[in-house]
Structures are given as C-alpha cells and as structure tokens.
C-alpha cells in the first residue's frame, strides 16, 4: 500500500465540484426566480463537465459544455422570454404544499433505496485512473468516434432519426396555425 498512488487531489476537486453542484441543483428546484434557476442550472451542468474531466473523459466534457450550456440553457432562456415569465421573483412557481411534500417524500425514499443499494453493492469498487493513459481508458476522441461509427452504428442512426422526429415535432407543435 505504500506505493499506491494517492487520490487526495482528486477527492478534493471532486468534493468542491460535487458540493457546489448539489447546492446549485437544490437552488434550481427551489429558487423563486426563473432566470436564476436557469443560471443555477448552468452551474450544475458545468460541474458535470468538470466531473467528466476528472474521469478523463475530455471529449464528453467538451460536448457537455457545448451542447448543454451553449445550446440547451440558451434554449431555456428563450423559452422563459417567449412565455413572458416575470423576470424577478414570483410566488407561483411551485405547487401547493401537499404536492411539494409528496415530491419530497418520493425523492427521499428513492434516494434512500438508491443509497442503500449503492453502498451495499459498490462500496469496494474503485476507479483507479492514475497511471493509465486516456487511450488505455478508451476515452480519446478517436476511440469514441471509432466505436460510435462501428459498434454503435445502429443506435447512432436511431438517434439521428430521433433528432429528425424531434425537429419535425417541435416545428409542428410550435407553429402558429
């Protein structure tokens, strides 16, 4: 164990990112300001990208930033503006108390069972990344693109059809007639 690499820096980074993500996520679902919610969401999504980098998956991280923060959040902001949401605080973003309690109960019980399952099953498993190259981890852009266009070609095609369907669906829904 003396020569085992130390993962302390990784833990520190993870702790910083994770705690900010949790705080931000809680703010997303509790804030009274719609625009703030979108900005908190940016923080969560950025945190996810950071985690991807910690996991040596740079390409996914970049995609995460580009697609989520670059496109999806902007889309959200457009949605907020197009529906003329009040830009300041508003009181009617949440459901009534009963429904919120139900939501909290369901969320907590789900969390409980997931934590139980994860702790039981995965406690002894570690991600030992130190010492292996990105290539060995199978995370280089080249490897990812190779496997998308060979092994996972069929899912890829299906996803492209899905995107087309979503495109058409969104146009049909949003057009004014």
């Amino acid at each position: 164990m003396t020569n085992a690499p130390t993962y302390l820096p990784e833990y520190i980074m993870f702790g910083l990112i994770a705690s900010s993500m949790v705080v931000a996520a809680v703010r997303v679902v509790t804030t009274k300001n719609v625009v703030h919610a979108a900005l908190w969401l940016v923080l969560v999504l950025g945190g996810v990208a950071g985690l991807f980098i910690l996991l040596a998956s740079e390409f996914t991280a970049i995609t995460q930033v580009l697609v989520y923060i670059g496109a999806i959040v902007v889309l959200f902001l457009f949605g907020i503006m197009l529906t003329r949401a009040p830009l300041g605080k508003s009181a009617d973003l949440d459901n009534n108390v009963a429904q919120r309690i139900v939501g909290a109960l369901v969320g907590l019980s789900l969390l409980g069972v997931m934590v139980y399952g994860l702790v039981n099953r995965w406690s002894d498993q570690k991600i030992e990344l130190v010492g292996s190259s990105t290539r060995q981890l199978g995370q280089t852009t080249e490897q990812i693109s190779d496997s998308i266009f060979s092994t996972y070609l069929v899912p890829f095609e299906v996803v492209s059809v899905l995107l087309l369907a979503a495109l058409i669906g969104a146009i049909v829904l949003a057009r004014r007639d």
Binding site: V106, L110, Y116
Partner: protein, 768 residues
C-alpha cells in the same frame, strides 16, 4: 468445382419486384395504364425467366452434386459459418477462408491489436458448442447429398459477452423447395399481372393496384428465399401488409374495409404465435442463430428438450393457422374475397396462404422432432389440417357466392397440405401446393371471367347456362374442377393420392389411419361441391339479367395456360410404381422426391416415402366420381326443389349450422370480442379510474380523508359489523375516489416515481 450458376444471386428476384414497386408507385401516375402494367408484367416476367433458369440449374446441381471441399464450402455458406467440426478448423486448411476468419474475430479484437487483448478475447469465440466428428467424416457424408446454395451478408452483430459475438445474417437459400416456390410464385403472379390488365381496366387506382401487386410478389419471393427465421418473419409480415392493402383495394365500400381489417387482425393474432415460435426455436437451438438449417439441425440432433420443441412447433403452427387459414383462424379467408378477383387468385394460389405451408416445410426438422411425427398415429398439426379440410369442404356446400365456394375450397385444400405435412408426407404436401396453385388460380380467374361477363356479380343464383356463351372459361373451369376433385389423370389426382398414401403409410410404421379417413371424406366432399358449383354456374338455364359473353383473350389465355398446368402437372411427380407398370423411363417418376425433397443428413429428417397404392387410388377416384355425380345430380334432377332441408329437421339444422359458418364468427365477435375483450377493456378502465387514481389521491390529497375514513371505521366498524361495513366501504371508497379525478399530470408523475421506488426496493432489497 460445383456449378453454382446464378443460384447464389437469387436476391435479384425480390429486388426486381421491389424496384418495380418503387417505380410504379412513384412515377406510375404519369404514365398510361399500358405503361404501368407493362412495367409490372416486365418485372415479373423477368422473374419468371430467372426462376426457370434457376430451376434448371438446381436440377443440374442435384444430378451433379458437389463433393469434397465444394460440399463443405456450400455447407458452411448455408450454416452461416463452419459446421460442428472443430478439428477441421484446427487442422488449418480452412483457417484462411474468409468465412471462418470473419467469424473467428469478435468485434472487440481486430488484427493488429495488442497480444494481451487478443489472447483474452480471441479464445472464447473459436470454441463451437459441440463436436461431432472430423472433417474427413463430414466430407464423406456430403457425397451424394444436395446441399442448398446459400449466400449471405452480415445483417448485424451483437456481443453476448466480452468474448463472444453472435452474427446475424441476412441471406438467401436456394434448394429444391425454394426453386419450386420461385417458379410457382412467379408464374402465377405473371399470369395474374397479365389478367389484371383487363380486369382492372379503368380502375381508379390502377397504378396503386399494380404497385402493390409487385410488392406482394416481392414480399413472397423474399419470404421464400429467406435463410433465417427472422428474415422469414419480415417477409411474412410484408405479405400480410400487402394483402391488407389489396383486399381493401376498393375501400370506398365498408365491407371491403372490414374484410381487409379482419384479414389483417386475424393474421396479427397468428403472428404473435409466430414471433413466439421464432424466439422459442432460437433459444431451443442454443441461442446462437436464426438460420433455418441451424434450427433444423438442433431440433433433429435430439439434444434439445422435446417439450421445448413442441412449444416452439405449436407456436409456429399458430402463425401458420392464421396465415394458411387453418381452423380456428380460417374465418378471414373467405372475407378476403372482397378484394379484386385476380388478387384472390394470387392470395389463394401462390402467395399468402401457402406461406404457412412453406414455413412448415422449411422448418420441417422442428416440426418433425417437436411433434414426433415418426412416433405417433395422430398429432396436432395433422389433426388441425384434417379437421380444417373437413370443415372447409363442408362450408363450401352452402355458399351462393362462387368466390366463397372457392375460398372455402382453398381452406379445405390448405388443410390437406398441412395434414400431409403432419403425417410426414413432405413431398406430397409440396406437390399438392404446386398443383393446387395452378388449378385454384385457374378457377379463381375463371370465376373472375364469369363475373366480368355477368355484371360483376359472383352470385351463382344469377348464373347458369354459361357453357354456350363462355366456352373457354367453361372448359378451363371444368378441367380445373376435375383437378381439384382429384379425377385421374388430372394433376390434383396425383398430389391428393400421394397425400392419402402418405397418411396410410405414416412414418416409422405408424399409419395415420384417422387422417386417412378424413382425407377420403374430404375427397368425396370436394368432388361433390365442385360438381354443384360447376353445374350451378355453367349448366342449366341462365338466371341472371346480363348478356354474358366470352372474356377477351388477355383474360382467357392465362386461364388456358393455368389449366394446362392443372391438367398435366401431375407428371412432375409421377408415382414411381406407375412408371414401372407403364414401362416409362425410370427418370420419369418421382421427380419431386428426387429434386425437391432435401437430402441432407441432420438438417432434414429421413422420411419414409409412401409407395403408390392402386387400391387407394382407385377408391379415392371412385369416391370423387360418386361425389361429383351426387353434386351434379342434386341440381340436374332438381332435387333441391323438394326442399329436403326444410322438411327434415336434421338436415335443416345442419344447413343452418353450415350457413352460419359453424357460428365461429359469432363466437369471435359476440362472445370473445363483446363479452371478453370489451368487458376486459371496461374493467381495466375501471381499474385505472378508480384504483390507480385512487392511490394517486391517497398519496396526494387523501391523507385527511384517509384519517377520517380510518377514524370512522375504527370507531364504528366493530359495532356495525361486517355486513354494514362492506356496504359502507364500497360506497365511501367510491365517493372518496370519485373526487380525486384531478387530471393533474404531476400527481401521476408522483405515483410513477413512487411505483418505481417500490420496484427498486423490491429489486435491491429482496432480489439483489
């Protein structure tokens, strides 16, 4: 080197028809009817010529079977990879072949990877599940066998574990059976295409009709050539869709739409069985391949549990039951007469309905082993076939519509074929399929010709006495009728007789006596209803109001061609014994047995071929003649005027029973649909409304109400007692649940996630 010829390029045939479909569909509207129909006829004509060439090449291949390395290569092509002989692969001689090299490399490990990975991943995949003898022995066994010509490409691959991938292939199989089917499908389709040009003249959806006729043919060819059960499933469904479109061709009339829907839905019922069967057989064969030969091989190896095979065979047969109109799913077939008559001819003679028979013939190993055909005196397939033959013939008696007579006759004849397969008379079934295709197509087209002349009616009450006015139609119909009735020397005689002989002979010494009796009774009935139909249509006085005239040449020529085949088609499988007695050349007899029945150890059961039985043959012909005389005599002597059915209660009851089609439709629609499905739908609606939503509310806003509820019952329940209690429970819960029909999507979402949580708890904590 063996001569493969164009037999590995048979994918061209469905391709030609499919491109014809595309061309007609997209540009047909711009052309005249003449051009449109010419495209279709040209395409199917090309297929016909190709099928002739392929047939000739196949015959040549059987006469000069490949041996040695060529046989091994052919076998590998058909089994989708090396056979069960690992020694051969390790011996090195064949290691360099592209087929085995491809299979040896799993997706994960390509050449050039690091040695460690290769060592890790390469190991598992080259092990084959079982080992039976070496290359020398298998090459020995190949001599004299006729191995099909197969061609395939990799359809998709899937990794079942890190070391093993399963390759699914799409390919074509050409053996005697598929070559014969190619011939039958393309010639009938060709004649139907030609005939339709006049019959559908000036139809408002002429282009559409020709397009789907092409697609129909393409699907059937695709189905016939499919090398694995998945592909056959695709073809099967395509055929179903095309039949739906064509049966509902004149959808402006409600009846036609209804008939098309009925055909489609009934077939869906059966398709479920087929899908289950495909899955079951896939797993029964070791979950490695859908290849038909692999399935047969596994089934015949005796290593698979016979219960599993029985389930697989019965599930597959359930698909056959709907597609080939077997009891109890035959009810769609007569309604399918709503389509244009040439379509009926195509459906009933060459394409759709024989798909089921073909499926059994193709996966015969599964059925043979699953139903233990060689070890029984009766089995499910044979019985259903015989029973269907009987009830179909019975129903054909009471129809007024000439096409319906023919439809029930088809049901009956399909039952005959299925029965033949059930008793092990494989060649006889295929032979009957062949002859039936011609005489039934001829009769359908003849009926179409009659209706063309009689103001588009099919009612035999408005026909009669047409023999003078339509001589060609009359003669072709009569000859085909003789063939159907099995009168010597028409084609039907030989095939029907072979089935009867097969039933009498049985497999492994077990005679299927009950099936033989069924067969003889049906032979009698068939002749009788054909006599009736013929007499009512062509003899006596004309009872309609039109001015019948012979149809134009473009319609009669197909009739003549088909009737020629129906008349002399029997020579295709002339009985061997008869050949001896008549001192004909030896090669004249038993051709289908020689060229069509597969001889491939392990992939096709060794069948006892029944010998020609003169007594049986004479008996069945006499029965048929008797039936025909009774059928004709009944009408010729105006016996029906004595109104026997109205005087005799028993006969009347019988007539009513038949006229109502054994009350099967009533059973399906009134009992199963109205009493079964609708209440079920209502019950699930009720459940959804009251129980599911109730739980939502109990979670959401119900806590206070539940409190009240409990208080009330804890307080008073003990005193009021159970009787009072139950009444109040139902009343109160109804009231409670009524109020919570919120329609709020988030409450449903809450329930959904709550349910997911409960399931997760169940899996994580209890199942682990």
């Amino acid at each position: 080197m063996d001569s493969v010829g164009i037999m590995d390029k048979v994918f061209l045939l469905p391709l030609i028809m499919a491109s014809s479909f595309v061309i007609i569909l997209f540009v047909g509207k711009r052309f005249s009817e003449r051009v449109t129909s010419s495209i279709g006829i040209g395409a199917v004509g090309a297929c016909f010529v190709l099928s002739l060439v392929i047939g000739a090449q196949w015959i040549n291949r059987v006469d000069n079977p490949p041996t040695g390395a060529a046989a091994v290569a052919a076998e590998e092509a058909c089994l989708g990879g090396p056979g069960d002989d690992p020694q051969a692969r390790e011996g090195g001689g064949r290691g360099a072949e592209p087929g085995s090299a491809e299979r040896g490399a799993p997706t994960g490990a390509a050449p050039g990877e690091s040695a460690a990975v290769l060592g890790q991943e390469g190991g598992g995949s080259t092990e084959s599940p079982s080992a039976e003898g070496g290359q020398a022995e298998s090459a020995q066994a190949k001599r004299g066998e006729t191995i099909p010509v197969c061609a395939s490409i990799t359809w998709f691959e899937t990794a079942v574990s890190t070391s093993q991938t399963i390759k699914f292939e799409a390919g074509t199989v050409l053996d005697g059976l598929s070559a014969l089917m190619l011939f039958v499908v393309s010639i009938i389709s060709l004649l139907v295409h030609i005939y339709s040009k006049e019959y559908l003249h000036d139809d408002r959806r002429f282009t559409h009709y020709y397009a789907f006729l092409s697609l129909f043919t393409a699907s059937m060819l695709f189905f016939v050539l499919g090398s694995n059960s998945l592909q056959m499933l695709v073809g099967w469904e395509l055929v179903g869709v095309c039949s739906f479109v064509l049966i509902g061709h004149w959808w402006e009339e409600g009846n036609n739409t209804y008939a098309a829907l009925k055909a489609f839905l009934t077939n869906r019922v059966g398709d479920t069985g087929l899908i289950i069967g495909v899955i079951v057989t896939f797993f029964a064969a070791g979950a490695t391949s859908f290849n038909v030969f692999r399935l047969n091989e596994a089934a015949l190896s005796g290593k698979v549990s016979s219960t599993l095979l029985l389930i697989g065979a019965i599930a597959l047969f359930w698909g056959v039951t709907s597609k080939s109109g077997q009891f109890p799913l035959h009810t769609w077939l007569p309604d399918a007469m709503a389509g244009p008559t040439p379509v009926s001819a195509l459906i009933h003679a060459a394409t759709m309905v024989v798909a089921g028979v073909y499926l059994i013939a193709r996966l015969y190993g599964v059925f043979y082993a699953g139903l233990q055909i060689n070890n029984n005196t009766i089995n499910y397939v044979a019985f259903i076939g015989g029973f269907t033959a009987l009830i179909g013939a019975g129903l054909a008696f009471v129809q007024k519509d000439i096409k319906k007579v023919l439809a029930y006759s088809t049901v009956s004849q399909l039952g005959y074929m299925v029965m033949a397969l059930g008793v092990g008379a494989w060649t006889a079934a295929v032979f009957h399929l062949f002859t039936h295709a011609f005489f039934k197509a001829s009769m359908f087209l003849g009926a179409g010709s009659v209706s063309h002349a009689c103001h588009h009616t099919f009612d035999m009450d408005e026909m009669g006495g047409l023999k003078k006015k339509m001589p060609i139609t009359r003669w072709t119909f009569m000859f085909s009728g003789f063939a159907l009735a099995g009168i010597f020397p028409f084609a039907g005689f030989f095939s029907k007789d072979e089935i009867l002989a097969g039933a009498a002979n049985g497999q492994g010494g077990n005679a299927y006596t009950i099936m033989l009796v069924f067969g003889l009774v049906v032979a009698f009935m068939t002749a009788a209803y054909m006599g009736r139909t013929y007499y009512r249509t062509f003899e006596g006085e004309y009872r309609g109001h039109a001015h019948p005239h012979e149809s134009p040449k473009i319609m009669t020529i197909p009739l003549i061609i088909l009737t020629t085949f129906a008349t002399i088609g029997g020579v295709v499988n002339f009985p061997g014994k008869l050949t001896e007695w008549l001192r004909l050349p030896q090669t004249f007899g038993g051709r289908l047995e020689h060229y069509v029945q597969p001889e491939w150890a392990g992939r096709f059961p060794t069948l006892d071929v029944a010998e020609f039985n003169p007594w049986l043959a004479t008996g069945s012909v006499l029965l048929a003649l008797l039936g025909m005389f009774i059928g004709i005599g009944w009408y010729a002597n105006r016996l029906y005027e004595r109104k026997l059915t109205e005087r005799s209660k028993v006969l009347h009851a019988g007539y009513t029973f038949l006229a109502n089609k054994y009350y099967l439709d009533a059973l399906y629609e009134n009992v199963i649909r109205d009493r079964g499905v609708f209440p079920l739908a209502r019950a699930s609606y009720w459940f959804n409304q009251y129980v599911v939503d109730g739980i939502v509310n109990a979670v959401g806003v119900g806590s206070r109400s539940v409190g009240n509820f409990l208080y009330k019952y804890l307080d008073q329940g003990a005193i009021d007692g159970a009787v009072n209690g139950t009444g109040i429970v139902s009343d109160e819960s109804g009231q409670l649940l009524r109020r919570i029909q919120t329609g709020k999507v988030q409450q449903y979402a809450a329930l959904f996630f709550f349910g997911a949580t409960v399931l997760t708890i169940f899996f994580v904590v209890f199942i682990r």
